[in-house]
Symmetry: C2
Subunit: 339 residues, 2 copies
DNA sequence: GCATCGAATCGAAGCGCTTCGACGATCCGG
DNA sequence: CCGGATCGTCGAAGCGCTTCGATTCGATGC
């Protein structure tokens, strides 16, 4: 743990010159800068974090609040945490993780102790308590997800409605007239902000095309997933020629398994499209068309906005919706000729 | 963001008195302390993190390095991160998350900038590069997991060998003479430190009882998990009357499904015991006996050791293995009478 | 040849806290 | 009733850095 003073001595300059050389905030003669950089490298010098925070009024830390509730879908959440942390590092920021009840209490604590320059909010609930908190604290806050009441907040998210609509578009274009939708368990529609948006997007776009549509939200009924199997059967037997899936990877696998059990080929007999998946839909048999939820897209934008706020640049409050893209893998085709 | 100076003025004392009253490091008259606490509460005062770090030589931060590799089993890793963060909060510590390549680079960075008081290492590989790093940096480091070369390191982990042995004990006592073992995919035995330990524990204990045993490490072959199904069939048809499972929850579910498909009842025809599971084995049908891996146990011990190191108390280097416990749920029984 | 200017560097003042040593007041024993 | 503990409180010295204003020096213009 070398100190700036030692670097200064080694390079034969004053400590302020070292500081300016390393931060680049004032011009330094090329030769001097070289000597300083070399000394710093040799001593493995890094500015002391505490001193830097105190003097520089920057902590270089983002607080990431992510409740990690017991029933959360771990892989997706992990993907967001990872994506945020990678995006933050691009700006030389570290990520402080606030989980569970600390997601709120920690947010307050971190804000009033000045431990973080900004707060990023993940796993947003429709009536999230962190919304009120965000309005109260003086630390810039960015939501990755859209709470019901988002007045005055900065929010970033995939345009889930458009994503579902995009899936419907593709199927309608292929000639499908009757679509089935398999969603998350009903509880997810209370707890999370996005499942209702996907459902709405599906329903509204299907309606606008005058398509028949049916929505099933199977319960999470243990590892056998009988709910999902039943849903597939009901939808297919009800005449759906295409399924739109917005559920976890296990449910995807089970749905495909059930289609196979029913002797329906994908895509010849039934088309399948996944919406809002964070996992790899090419790992299924067959690979599934996807309108994915890309964590890095949301997180990078969120981090960029957070940086702008930290830098005091003007950032308009409001919801930034990221346009979805469709990634085909051959799991949709025209419907079979009516039997 | 009130400052200590404002609290002092509000309470009519000097700032050092405020500091001592709030930290409890010197006796303060009860009445004075009350006034100070009240003022602090009213102003929502929290010591500035940077100033505290600088003056107090404590950052109140643990760095948690967790690579989060793409192929890691998200739920288990999330459970460890969560457990660590909860354990840390008990000591008023926050957790800084270092993922991916930052797991190593960040460890170095954090150590030399004094951003964290200690480093906790998760998802330990047998030949983990963080081992060398840990020896080089001056920040106390605790491993949750046991790398091959752990000379001089402080490591904490479940005693996986004993866990597998415990499962074998139970089955042997019930009279089973032939055991099957379903493990993780072969790659996991290179990448992670604990699968080989479970396997070894199983084999050695089975051998010491003179039991027949067979080990299968099914490939992760996509959502259909045909490898696991095949493994179950092979083992059962090979005469195993009990299965020891050390694999992810999906494989558990598939294994049970396959047993049902084979018309083998659990536990009447085949006993099933899970080893090292972080998930809830009572969610299966039927609920499965478990010798679980309890993240909070490892993480709490790790955090306690880290605290001792931070406090300069003597901590002996070495591996601390946590004794396993068996949690029966009715999925094992005596083997069926020989047919 | 002298005032002027810009570039490069330096010194010193904090940032907000913890902690050390000191000090006044109160208490006790003798 | 005085000397010495003891208790509670205070002032001031840092912690290691950033940043502001000042200074130095060679180059430039007139």
């Amino acid at each position: 743990m070398a100190k700036i003073h030692e670097v200064a001595k080694a390079a034969g300059v004053s400590i302020s010159t070292v500081s300016y050389a390393l931060s680049g905030k004032r011009p330094i003669a090329p030769d001097t800068r070289r000597r300083i950089e070399e000394a710093a490298r040799e001593l493995d010098y890094r500015p002391n974090a505490g001193a830097r925070m105190l003097a520089g009024r920057r902590t270089q830390i983002f607080a990431l609040t992510e409740p990690f509730r017991a029933d959360t879908h771990a892989p997706a959440h992990m993907a967001f945490v990872l994506a945020t942390s990678i995006a933050a590092r691009r700006y030389e920021y570290d990520v402080l993780l606030l989980t569970e009840e600390e997601a709120s209490a920690g947010m307050r604590r971190v804000a009033s102790s000045g431990l973080a320059d900004a707060v990023l909010v993940l796993d947003v609930a429709p009536d999230d308590e962190r919304v009120a908190l965000a309005r109260r604290i003086s630390v810039p806050t960015v939501f990755i997800g859209v709470p019901d009441d988002h007045e005055g907040l900065v929010c970033v998210d995939l345009d889930f409605e458009a994503a579902a609509a995009l899936a419907v578009d593709g199927l309608a274009e292929l000639g499908h007239r009757s679509l089935g939708f398999i969603g998350h368990p009903p509880a997810a529609y209370e707890r999370s902000n996005f499942p209702p948006r996907v459902r709405r997007g599906f329903e509204q776009r299907a309606d606008s095309f005058g398509l028949e549509r049916a929505v099933v939200l199977p319960e999470a009924d243990g590892p056998r997933r009988t709910g999902v199997r039943q849903a597939v059967r009901d939808l297919v037997e009800g005449g759906a020629t295409a399924l739109v899936l917005h559920c976890d990877d296990g449910a995807h696998a089970v749905a495909l398994d059930e289609l196979a059990a029913l002797d329906r080929r994908v895509p010849e007999d039934v088309s399948v499209v996944s919406v809002g998946a964070t996992f790899d839909t090419t790992a299924f048999v067959p690979p599934i068309d996807s309108v994915p939820l890309v964590p890095s897209a949301s997180c990078e934008l969120a981090v960029e906005l957070a940086m702008r706020l930290v830098d005091g640049e003007p950032v308009e409050a409001g919801v930034r919706l990221i346009a979805p893209t469709s990634v085909p893998h051959g799991s949709s085709a025209p419907p079979p000729p009516a039997s």
